[in-house]
Structures are given as structure tokens and as C-alpha cells.
């Protein structure tokens, strides 16, 4: 691997840091009230509105797969230190997903590309400009014949307009799109059903019965944070009169499936029978045909009995016919306008991406393509293996890869130009409902990166483009003048861009659509994105690498997931190696056993096994893209066999497959709606806890404040956003795979998955009678007057008795100098939180720094802290508002009201620890007709 010479020497040298800080300062002026200077000039004197130590908040957008999620970026002294959701953005509503949180670490990633390269050798940018100038003359002569642009899915109006402009100059230009996490079948399904690409937007707050077929509704669909919020509104029977009922039919457990009341595991070859059965029952009022699973009749009857309130959702891995049929079923259930709406697609140019990429590769191979601009993405790694993208790319005479890190594509392209990080680039993007968010640059590019918009401008002859003024120009009609522009930046959404529902009628042939059943003799491999690395774009992000996968709690690896029955048959144990063969191509990888996976299915989660990436992602996992063909993007028949050898896999849940004893030992409480309605106290422990203590020191009752938290297990969908938010807020170090395998992960907050289906976030319980406090010989962990269990790092000598004595096992110890060993600049950390040294204990503090900030503000204004004005990092990131935090002395506080819920229980309350964190137990709305499959 070549090591590009950074353009400015050591990027963290003092001048560079000053430059970056200055950029932040100057940007503060851009969106503030300092007048719109379009040049980012280093400030010698800080801006007048800048108070050292007071954070600045700027709106922006996190764009995944083309779709925007509004975010707020917190700056400290001019540098971004934390991401939060933008409450005014429809796809965020104040929450974030893990990717938005992890953007921060990516911004400070020292492995990012540092300058342009030509055939992997560092060169100056002017070198590229000279070459491009010649190329443009050539393109002008050929009218752009042979000129292609490859992007991901694009919703950005500005980017689309720029491509259109470029096409006006070079009429032969063609635009291709490719996302490895493919939504082609969703597009094709809408095409079949309505004749054009439409966005189905469920209104889950109004849906009484939901059937989720391999659904990504709560995990990764555009708008999933908003859907999760609406979903949770109907899931806690203590707060809603009408709890929704959710059925999930899926091959592998999804977050939606785990949140469902009934979950049926169905492998892809059996799925057509399920759909045929639903079609018969719902579209034609016929009895369920033979061959359909026995539970289907109950599900279909439930859906039919809730007309208008029923909604069916199919995930992007389902074939186009399924999507078309689901559209027909939803129309037949009359939910349109009530339980769902149809919106025009937010995409700028919806197209069949598989065909588009195939077409491009054919052109590259035949020599028809001589100029290729790849804007972002990493197609050399993610393209279907049978296309041979990488080899074809090497044949292109002039190829430019705009990429933020040196990757497989940039290595094969002629030119690699560093891409500006989303924190460095001005841009725009639409959310699932069409509303546009402006992506604000937060700093000058650290390594001289160019944004996608700027790159297009460069190809259009503007060699020194300015992303900011380009964007202003693009929006000059809509956001004329400074006032509307500033308003758009301050709210994070361009007003009036949300789409209205369309009135397209269903085509009659949709009702007849039915996917073909393809029975395979061997197993079926399901290709799914890794939940945290997606198509591999986050492989160098340590936060996402070390974030336990919701289902397996695995970190740093992507073994093949196999169901227990298949593992038994092949004699596979967790960590045993197996060879997976698809159409003659073979990958050898270890396996992990996952209950709830349909029999005869193997899940290959791609995104790992990057061949060329930074030091974090190097050597992690296996590359299943090598098995993924263009005609089997989602599933394919395969052969799985055991081979000799084992591999150490690191999971933060060390229990293996739960035995009966372990299942009984699970601490997350749950019951059914019927039991709850019969007895609201069903989850309470028998016998009230008696408060007897050896040390008669009740927590101070005099304080006005008593911090407490309630966590609603009905709402928690296990999305992990809270964990990354906590990690970012509290400077929690990443420890690496080996240390996780040694059971030394540092996350203050973990999400337990009990009984295979019940997520339970566990953090420090801030016990009123804290067992940790009495055993510390030096008093390093103490109680404060407001009930916080405080940890005094400076006083800790590391006896670790507190961690032994903690029944909840939430204390984390710095066995090594984890923070000091992190490859991460000090500037990226939250200055409000101590970075812990080797040998000290740490744990959740209830974000004490936020409490302190709120208290200072309240004191300045001479008032008590208001309910809701203060949110912990986990709480603010949570899409379903599972966390509530506040003053439990205040009976009107939201947290007090939630704690008064009949579902509330204290975990291990029998130990008399009197935890300040309580849970609302999970209630399942079981149907009497359907038994779990």
C-alpha cells in the first residue's frame, strides 16, 4: 500500500489545528449573524458572538444511501465534538442513528486521504487540473461520448442539476448509480404497481395491525427514525389505549421482527406460498391454499378485520413482485391515506441500479467508456462480483475516484481525489418525505478534500469552485436573500419542500404479481449489509466496528450466521470455520449460530473484509461481496460445508446459545396484553421490597432534585444509537477486538438481548443503596445530594471491588491505557468529560456534565431546571424515546409519570439497591389465533 504524502506535513501540527479552529470560528459567522462572508478566513480575534466554553450548534444532514437525516453538530471552541438529531427534521425528530453519531469519528480519522494521487502516487492538485484540462478538450471534441458519471443514489437537487448542466455541455454524458445496499426491488415493485417509483410512507401511529415481511422499517429504511418514533407510540399499553399488533414474517431476525408480537421465520423459497396465501385471503376472500403455513390464516384474518388500520411492509430484499403484491394488498386493505401514504420518490433520478451498473461495466470493458468520474462510493469493492468492475475500471483511460479514504476503487482508478467529509462540504439532500436539508460545512477541509458538487463544477471548467456559493446560487430562487437562507440553516429544513401524497391509481396487474418459488437443494444464502458498516463504507470507523451487532453482539467481525438446526446438521459450533460456495465461488469464514433464522438459510453480512482501507478496518472480517452476483444480490442458492479450523470471534454476550437455565435467569420482564388487561400489576415482583440497611444513611431527602430514569422496554428496538451517542459524549475509548475477546469492552451502556427477542438497555442504575460505594476503600465512588452515584477518577486506585459488587455489572475498568492508545486527536473529544487514565474505574454518570450545564443555566436565570430541558446523550439519540430522564421529586415530570406506570419494575430490586433507573416491562399483544412459528 502506498502512503500518500500529506500536503501539509503532520496534519495535527499546531498551524493545522489553528487553521481548523479558525475555520469553525469563521463558519460560526457564516450561519450566525456576522454577515455572510463566503471566504473562510482564519480569525485572529474570535468572533464577537463566540464565548469560549459555550457550545455552538449547527444544523446539517447525515446522508446514507442518498437519504438525509437532519442533525445538529455541537462545536466547542470551533471544533465539532458531538452529533445530535435535529428535532425539526422529519427524518430525525431529534433522534439519530448510529451512522450520524459516528460521523464525528470519521471526520477526525487520521487515515483519510491526504491528497490527490495518480496511479496511487501522490501528486499535486495542479497536476490533476492540467490533465483534466486536456481531457475536457477531448470530451468537447467527442461531445462527451464515452464520458460517464457513477454516483450512489442521489436525492440532492443541486447535484442532479449540476449533472444536467454537465450533460448540456457534453451531450454524450451518461449518469449511472449504484448502491450496494440495493433498493432496486422497492423501485421496481412501485413501477409494477403504479407505473413509477413511489415512496410508501407508513403512518404507524395510525396502524392497528402491521405485517412486516423481511422489513427494514425500524432499522434502515429511509425515514426509519421517524417510523420508529411512530411505532413506539402504539406499543406501551400503559400509555396507549390501542396497542398495535405486529406480525413479522422474515428469513432472518430484523429489528422489526424482534419488536413484533408474533414472529415467523420463513426462508426465501417458502415466502411465495405465504404471499400467495395472503393474496388469496385478502384480495379474493378465498380460503388459504394448501401449502401455506398454518399460522397464515390467523394473520390474514387479523389484517382483514382491521381495514384501514392494517398495513403490510416488505423490505428491500424481497423481490419486485412481492412489493407489487404488497402494494395491491395494502390498497385492498384500504389503508391508503390512513395507515400509509404514497409520496413521489425523493430520488433525483430513480433507475434500476443493477442494470445501470451492468451497462457501465460493459461500456468500460468494450472501451466505449474513456472518462469515468466516480463520485463517492466504492464500486470496486461493492459491485457484483460477476461484473468484474475492478478489472474494467483499469481499462478506462481517464478515471477519477472521489473518495474520502484510499479504498479499492481509488486504487484501481487513474486519479484519486480526496473527498471532503460531510462536515467539510456544503450540499443538500432530501429526506424520505422529500424535504430538503442543507448540509452545512462545519470546518475547512482538513486534507484539502473536494465535495461532490465541487468535483462536478471542476469537470465543468470551474477549477476553483466554492461549494458554499454554488449552493447559494442553486437555491437563489427558492431561498432568495439572506433571511430565508438563514432560516433554512437554522431549522435544518428548507420550508415547503416536503412532498404531498400522490393520487396514482394501482395498476390491476399488481394484484396478480407473485414471486417465483425457487426451491434449492442446498442452503439459501442471504446477502445483507452489516448493520454498522453497511457496504463497508464505515470499515475504518472504530466506533461502528466495536458496536455490538444488535442480534449477535459481535464486534469487529462478520461470521456467517447459521440457524441452530443447520449448525447441528453440519456439526458446527460458534467459531468453527465453514466454506460457503455460491456458483463456484468460495469464501471460507467462521460461523455464528443465531436462533430465529429460518432453517436452511445462511446470512452473509457484507461490508467487512476490505482489501484497502485504513488501519482500523484492515484485516477485519470476510468479504462476501466475492459471492454476490448481479442476479443474486439478495439471496442465492449456496452450499455450506464445515472445514477444519476455528476462529476467535468477539461478542459482548458470552452466553452462547441460551440454555433453559439461562433463559430462566433473564432479567427483562415481559407479559402479554391479555394478562396486563386482567391485572395491570402483572410485572410487579411478589412482595414489596423492604428497605433495611446496615448503614442508616438514606440518600439526602432535602435536595430539590433527585435524578432518575425510566426505560420503556416496549419502545426499545435495539438500534444501538444510544451506545454510540454515549461513547461520543463521554469520551469512551475503543479497545479493539482482542480486548473485547478478553471481556474488557468499555461501553457504559449496553443493550442486553434476552430470550433472543427482548432488548434491554443497561447502564449504571444509580442505586440509592449502591453496593459499589460501601466497598471502595478510598471513597472514590460516592453519592451526591441529588442521588447521582458519582465516580471520582482522580481518587480511584483501581481495587475493582466496586465492579465486583455491582449486581448490574455496569462498571468498566481501564485495564490498559485504552484512551491513550486510541488513534484519535485530542481535539475530537468532549472537553467537558475527563479522559480516563489507565487503572481507574468508570461508568455511566447520567451525563453529569449536561446536568451541570443545565444547572448553571438555570441558576443564571434564577429558576429550577425545567422538566425536559436536560437530556442524557442516550435519551437524546433514542428514536423511540425509550429513555426518560428527569427529576423524580417532581410528580409532574415525565419521568415521574413513567415511573408511576404499572409496568415499572426495578431490575434485581430484591437486592434492595433501590435503583434510580427503572424499566417498564415489555407487553406483547398476542393474537389468540396465531401461534409463533
Amino acid at each position: 500500500m502506498t502512503s500518500p504524502i500529506p500536503p501539509f506535513g503532520d496534519p495535527w501540527e499546531r498551524r493545522q489545528i489553528l487553521k481548523m479552529m479558525a475555520a469553525g470560528l469563521a463558519l460560526g459567522g457564516v450561519s450566525g449573524c456576522d454577515g455572510d462572508s463566503d471566504a473562510l478566513v482564519p480569525a485572529v480575534m474570535p468572533a464577537t458572538d463566540m464565548v469560549p466554553g459555550v457550545p455552538g450548534l449547527f444544523t446539517s444532514a447525515s446522508v446514507i444511501g442518498g437519504y438525509a437525516e437532519g442533525i445538529l453538530i455541537e462545536h466547542r471552541d470551533g471544533r465539532p465534538v458531538k452529533v445530535a438529531g435535529n428535532p425539526k427534521h422529519p427524518a430525525s425528530l431529534g433522534a439519530t442513528d448510529v451512522f450520524a453519531q459516528a460521523l464525528l469519528l470519521g471526520f477526525y480519522d487520521p487515515d483519510r486521504a491526504r491528497g490527490p494521487t495518480l496511479n496511487n502516487r501522490p501528486v499535486g492538485l495542479s497536476h490533476f487540473m492540467t490533465a483534466l484540462d486536456k481531457r475536457r478538450q477531448h470530451l468537447a471534441e467527442t461531445h462527451g461520448e464515452g464520458f460517464r458519471i457513477l454516483t450512489g443514489t442521489v436525492t440532492s437537487p443541486t447535484l442532479a442539476a449540476q449533472i444536467a448542466q454537465l450533460r448540456a455541455v457534453y451531450p454524450g454524458l451518461r449518469w449511472h448509480q449504484w448502491e450496494a445496499v440495493s433498493r432496486d426491488q422497492v423501485r421496481a415493485g412501485a413501477q409494477l404497481a403504479y407505473g413509477r417509483s413511489l415512496e410508501t410512507v407508513p403512518r404507524l401511529e395510525r396502524a392497528n395491525v402491521i405485517l412486516a415481511i423481511d422489513s427494514d422499517l425500524l432499522s434502515s429504511a429511509p425515514g426509519h427514525l421517524a417510523y420508529a418514533r411512530a411505532f413506539a407510540e402504539r406499543r406501551n399499553p400503559a400509555r396507549t389505549q390501542h396497542m398495535s399488533r405486529v406480525y413479522a414474517v422474515e428469513s432472518m431476525p430484523t429489528l422489526t421482527g424482534l419488536a413484533a408480537d408474533h414472529r415467523f421465520a420463513v426462508s426465501p423459497p417458502d415466502m411465495p406460498a405465504v404471499l400467495a396465501g395472503l393474496a388469496a385471503a385478502i384480495l379474493r376472500d378465498e380460503p388459504i391454499p394448501d401449502g401455506a403455513p398454518p399460522w397464515l390464516a390467523g394473520v390474514a384474518a387479523d389484517l382483514k378485520s382491521h381495514r384501514r388500520g392494517a398495513f403490510i411492509h416488505a423490505g428491500p430484499d424481497q423481490p419486485a413482485e412481492t412489493h407489487a403484491l404488497v402494494h395491491a394488498l395494502n390498497e385492498a386493505l384500504e389503508g391508503r391515506g390512513h395507515s400509509f401514504d404514497l409520496l413521489p420518490s425523493a430520488e433525483a433520478a430513480p433507475l434500476d441500479q443493477r442494470a445501470s451498473l451492468t451497462d457501465l461495466v460493459r461500456g468500460m470493458e468494450s472501451g466505449a467508456v474513456d472518462t469515468l468520474l466516480i463520485l463517492g462510493g466504492n464500486p470496486a469493492f461493492t459491485a457484483p462480483v460477476d461484473l468484474g468492475f475492478e478489472a474494467a475500471l483499469r481499462k478506462v483511460a481517464f478515471s477519477v475516484s472521489l473518495a474520502d479514504e484510499p479504498n479499492e476503487t481509488s486504487a484501481a482508478a487513474t486519479w484519486h481525489i480526496p473527498e471532503a467529509h460531510p462536515f467539510e462540504a456544503w450540499g443538500d439532500a432530501r429526506a424520505f418525505d422529500g424535504s430538503v436539508a442543507i448540509q452545512q460545512a462545519q470546518a475547512l477541509p482538513l486534507y484539502g478534500g473536494r465535495s461532490q458538487n465541487e468535483m462536478l463544477a471542476i469537470f465543468n471548467g470551474d477549477y476553483y469552485p466554492d461549494g458554499y456559493s454554488m449552493l447559494r446560487r442553486a437555491w437563489q430562487d427558492r431561498l432568495a436573500g439572506d433571511q430565508p437562507w438563514r432560516a433554512a440553516l437554522m431549522t435544518g429544513v428548507v420550508e415547503g419542500t416536503a412532498a404531498a401524497p400522490v393520487g396514482d391509481a394501482l395498476r390491476p396487474e399488481a394484484a396478480a404479481a407473485l414471486p417465483k418459488a425457487e426451491k434449492s437443494a442446498g442452503v439459501t444464502v442471504l446477502f445483507r449489509p452489516d448493520p454498522h458498516l453497511l457496504d463497508g463504507r464505515f470499515a475504518n470507523n472504530a466506533w461502528l466496528q466495536e458496536l455490538p451487532r444488535p442480534l449477535t453482539k459481535l464486534v469487529w467481525d462478520n461470521p456467517l450466521l447459521v440457524p441452530p438446526a443447520l449448525a447441528d446438521r453440519l456439526g458446527l459450533a460458534k467459531g468453527d470455520k465453514a466454506a460457503l460456495t455460491v456458483d463456484g465461488r468460495r469464501v471460507e469464514a467462521p460461523v455464528w449460530i443465531v436462533p430465529g433464522l429460518a432453517d436452511d438459510c445462511v446470512v452473509a453480512q457484507f461490508g467487512f473484509g476490505r482489501r484497502r482501507t485504513g488501519s482500523v478496518g484492515e484485516g477485519a472480517g470476510w468479504d462476501y461481496f466475492q459471492l454476490r452476483r448481479s442476479l443474486g444480490l439478495h439471496d442465492a442458492p449456496a452450499k455450506l460445508e464445515k472445514i477444519p479450523g476455528r476462529h476467535v470471534l468477539a461478542s459482548t454476550d458470552r452466553r452462547g446459545l441460551l440454555t433453559e437455565t439461562e433463559r430462566e435467569a433473564a432479567l427483562a420482564r415481559q407479559s402479554t396484553l391479555a394478562s396486563f388487561l386482567a391485572d395491570a400489576q402483572v410485572l410487579k415482583s411478589p412482595g414489596a421490597a423492604v428497605s433495611v440497611t446496615l448503614y442508616d444513611q438514606p440518600p439526602a431527602q432535602s435536595a430539590d432534585m433527585a435524578w432518575g430514569m425510566s426505560i420503556d422496554l416496549n419502545a426499545c428496538i435495539g438500534c444501538n444509537a444510544c451506545i454510540v451517542a454515549c461513547q461520543a459524549e463521554n469520551n469512551i475509548p475503543v479497545v479493539g477486538k482482542e480486548q473485547v475477546a478478553r471481556e474488557r469492552e468499555m461501553h457504559w451502556l449496553r443493550i442486553d438481548l434476552d430470550e433472543g427477542s427482548q432488548f434491554q438497555p443497561v447502564l449504571c442504575m444509580h442505586c440509592e443503596e449502591a453496593p459499589c460505594e460501601v466497598v471502595c476503600p478510598v471513597g472514590a465512588t460516592v453519592h451526591d445530594a441529588e442521588g447521582l452515584n458519582g465516580m471520582v477518577y482522580n481518587r480511584c486506585i483501581g481495587t475493582r471491588f466496586c465492579a465486583n459488587n455491582c449486581p448490574y455489572k455496569v462498571r468498566r475498568f481501564n485495564f490498559m491505557a485504552f484512551s491513550a492508545e486510541e488513534k484519535r486527536p485530542a481535539q475530537s473529544r468532549n472537553p467537558e468529560v475527563t479522559v480516563r487514565a489507565r487503572g481507574v474505574m468508570e461508568k455511566c454518570t447520567f451525563c453529569v456534565q449536561r446536568i451541570a450545564a443545565a444547572r448553571i443555566q438555570a441558576d443564571i436565570e434564577n429558576r429550577p431546571i425545567r422538566d425536559g430541558e436536560l437530556k442524557t446523550a442516550c435519551q437524546s439519540a433514542c428514536p423511540t424515546q425509550a429513555f426518560t430522564f428527569g427529576n423524580i421529586r417532581d410528580p409532574d415530570a415525565e419521568v415521574s409519570r413513567r415511573k408511576a406506570s404499572p409496568l415499572t419494575y426495578a431490575m434485581l430490586g430484591e437486592l434492595n439497591t433501590r435503583p434510580r433507573v427503572t424499566y417498564e416491562g415489555r407487553i406483547r399483544n398476542l393474537s389468540t389465533d396465531a401461534e409463533d412459528g
Partner: protein
């Protein structure tokens, strides 16, 4: 009759040159001590992550080793102080060896509480010294009690050992043939000349110290037991721990004394002083302690299942059948079942059999502490935080390093100091008793 004791024992200490067997023992012991030095340096350079300790199993080898060594140390104190007060004459031939063993073992034990700290350089924060910030240790913590108990014990053991040595050091001073030895023993004997007044003060002091030491040996192990009983951890939270720990400590203490006395008796030719009768008495004591420990094991199981705590039940069954089942069953076998052979006089008088049983008991007691510490921590009430413990090279290096340290110290004692209390033997012989 009088001269042989002093001649023999003083001769051993004063003779020039070193026996071959001593080198064979001392060189490996020093090699292990060097390994300890390397292990500790690595530990201080990298942090306690070099060991296998992990999130649920926050305490492992260091605390096991600590409890093990402090238990071994108890043997010497028990024999020299307890039986002194009981006026058991047989102790006279054994007490010096036993006390030296105590001192070396306590030194090894004392290392661990410091080494196991995340930030060992702040160990002095356990000392209640007045500081400008008004910070004090946290007196409710059993670890703090433990710190005081062990500190008291180590200091008292050292004083007791030294005080017992003074008349013999004076004898050595008087017999030393080289000026260097005269100077060394002269300084060490702190002017003891055997005047009547000196003897009067000496006996009073020794008696008082013995009276202090006897309860100390009980208190230190009770408090070590409270380190666990005071915790909330299932498997620890039991009121029987203090006596249980005392039983275990004296069992390993007696076994260790036997383990040292039997070879020494032969190598140094002390058969005339340390007779079969001594071995037999030690065998009986070991048997008694073993029965007591067996009782504690039965009560451990009984109280677990008599109680209604599901977590305790589950954890106990895990001990019997889980990952560490061999350790549990080896504990029972080595500490309870095999020592039952000592009911037979033949086993009690056969040095080889006694050696074997003692060795197994010493190993078994280490296993017992493994069970209590790792066995309890790795399966607590929180199933999602269950985890296993896998020791690393550095865990073993530290454990065997302190074994080396122990033997290095002990062998130096054997070479340079009187291994049997000369003056007490003389007294006994003068009063016409048999050793």
C-alpha cells in the same frame, strides 16, 4: 546433652561454604524471583490488563494468590504463638522454621494487594494520614479493614520472629569465628547478653506478643473472609466465611510447615530434634483442620440450598458441573478426602505420605480460592454479563514468581540463621523433657 543442640544448629549457621543441595534449590528459586521481577515490571509498564482479569472477573490470580499466601503464613503463627500459650513443648523444635515460613509467605502475600491495584503508586491512600484536602479512607470497606489486618499481621509476625531470634543471635555472636559474622550477629543481637534482667524482660515481651499473635491469626483470616462476605456477590455473601477462611488458612499452614520440615530434617540432619512425633502431631493438626474445612464445604452447600436464592443455586450447580468443575472437585479431593488418610498412624508417620498429602493440600487450597473468587464472579445475578476467565502467561509468571521469592527468602534463612530455637531447646532439655 546440652551441647549438641547449640553445636549442631549454630554450626549449621556459622559454617563456611554452602552445601550442594542448597545451590540446587536456591538457583531455581532465584530464577523464579527474577521472573517475578520481569512480570512486575511488565505489569507496571502496561497495566493490569497483562493479566487475564476481565469485566465480570475483576479479581483473579492476584487475589487468589494473596489469600493463598496469607493462609500459608498462618501455619507458623499458629504453631509458635498458639501452642506457646498452650505450653505445648513439641512446638520448640518447629517454631523457628514455622515462623520463618510465615514471614516469607506474608511477604509474598503482602505484595499482591499492591500489585493488583490499577494504580499501585497510590496504594498509600489506604493509610489514614491527615492531608490538606481532608480526605480519609472509606472506613466501611472490608478492603480497608483487610489492609489494616494484614499490615498488623505482617508487622507483628516480623517482630515476633525477630524477638524469638534474639537469644540465638547472641549465641551465634559469641560463637562466630570471623569479625564480619561477629559484627553482623552482634548488631542483630541488640546487646543481649543473657543477664537475668534481660531474660525477665525478654520473657514478658515474648509472652505478650504471643498473646497478641494468637488472636491476630484468627482476626486476619476472618477479615480476609469479610472481603468476600462483605460483598454482595452471590457465592461470597455468606456469614460463614470468616471461620471458613480461618479453617482453610490453618489447613494450608500446617501442610506448608510439613512440606518444609520433612526435607529440611533430612537435609540438615535434624532428625534428633525434629522427630517422628513432631510429624505425627502436625499430621493430626492437618487432619483436624481438614475436617473443619470439610464441614465448611458441607455448610456452604447446605446454606446455599437451604436458602431460596435462585442465583446462588444456579451458581453452585455451575461450580459442580460448569467450566471450572475440575477445580471444584479437586478442591474437595485434595483438601478433604485425601487428608482423611491421616486417620491412620502409618500415614502420619511416613514422611513420603505426609509430603504428598501436604503438597496436595497446598494445591487444593489454591483451588479453593479460585473457586470462591473466579467461580463466584464469572456467574453473577446478571446473565448478560457472564464471562469466563482465562489466565495469561503473566498470571502464572506472577504466581510462580512469588513461589520463587518465598523459597529464596526461606533458603537464605536456612543458610544463615539458626533453624531451631537453640535457647528453647536447651531449656527444654535442661528441664529433662524430650523434644
Amino acid at each position: 546433652m546440652e551441647m549438641p543442640v547449640a553445636d549442631k544448629v549454630a554450626g549449621l549457621a556459622l559454617k563456611p561454604g554452602v552445601d550442594a543441595w542448597w545451590w540446587w534449590a536456591f538457583i531455581p528459586a532465584m530464577a523464579l524471583t527474577a521472573l517475578l521481577a520481569v512480570a512486575v515490571s511488565w505489569l507496571f509498564a502496561k497495566g493490569i490488563g497483562v493479566w487475564g482479569n476481565n469485566n465480570p472477573v475483576m479479581w483473579a490470580f492476584p487475589i487468589i494468590n494473596y489469600v493463598w499466601w496469607i493462609g500459608i503464613a498462618s501455619g507458623g503463627t499458629f504453631i509458635s504463638a498458639f501452642f506457646f500459650l498452650m505450653k505445648a513443648t513439641w512446638r520448640t523444635a518447629l517454631n523457628r522454621i514455622a515462623e520463618s515460613m510465615t514471614l516469607c509467605a506474608a511477604a509474598c502475600a503482602g505484595l499482591y494487594p499492591i500489585l493488583h491495584l490499577g494504580r499501585a503508586w497510590f496504594a498509600y491512600w489506604l493509610v489514614p494520614y491527615p492531608d490538606t484536602m481532608g480526605l480519609w479512607p472509606q472506613f466501611r470497606s472490608p478492603l480497608l479493614w483487610d489492609f489494616y489486618a494484614v499490615l498488623t499481621y505482617v508487622i507483628s509476625s516480623a517482630l515476633f520472629w525477630y524477638l524469638g531470634l534474639i537469644p540465638d543471635l547472641a549465641t551465634l555472636r559469641d560463637r562466630a569465628e570471623t569479625p564480619g559474622k561477629r559484627l553482623f550477629f552482634g548488631l542483630a543481637a541488640v546487646g543481649f547478653h543473657g543477664r537475668g534482667e534481660q531474660w525477665r524482660h525478654y520473657r514478658a515481651t515474648y509472652g505478650v506478643l504471643a498473646a497478641l499473635m494468637a488472636p491476630l491469626v484468627i482476626s486476619v483470616h476472618s477479615i480476609v473472609g469479610l472481603d468476600f462476605a462483605g460483598g454482595e456477590v452471590p457465592g461470597w455473601h455468606s456469614t460463614q466465611f470468616p471461620p471458613f477462611f480461618v479453617f482453610g488458612a490453618v489447613l494450608s499452614g500446617f501442610a506448608s510447615v510439613l512440606l518444609l520440615v520433612i526435607p529440611l530434617r533430612r537435609l540438615l540432619g535434624l532428625g534428633a530434634f525434629i522427630t517422628e512425633r513432631h510429624l505425627e502431631v502436625l499430621g493430626r493438626l492437618m487432619l483436624t483442620a481438614s475436617v473443619c474445612v470439610g464441614y465448611a464445604y458441607v455448610m456452604d452447600a447446605f446454606s446455599t440450598f437451604y436458602g431460596a436464592d435462585e442465583v446462588e443455586h444456579r451458581q453452585f450447580l455451575e461450580r459442580l458441573t460448569g467450566l471450572y468443575w475440575p477445580v471444584y472437585w479437586a478442591t474437595l479431593l485434595f483438601n478433604v478426602f485425601i487428608p482423611q488418610a491421616l486417620w491412620w498412624r502409618r500415614a502420619r508417620t511416613d514422611p513420603a505420605a505426609l509430603m504428598a498429602i501436604s503438597l496436595l493440600v497446598v494445591i487444593g487450597m489454591w483451588f479453593e480460592r479460585f473457586n470462591i473468587i473466579v467461580g463466584s464472579l464469572h456467574r453473577t445475578a446478571m446473565p448478560s454479563a457472564w464471562g469466563d476467565f482465562h489466565p495469561t502467561f503473566w498470571d502464572y509468571a506472577t504466581l510462580f514468581g512469588t513461589v520463587g521469592l518465598f523459597f529464596s527468602g526461606f533458603l537464605l534463612f536456612v543458610r544463615f540463621l539458626p533453624v531451631i530455637s537453640i535457647f528453647e531447646m536447651r531449656e527444654m532439655q535442661a528441664s529433662g523433657e524430650k523434644p
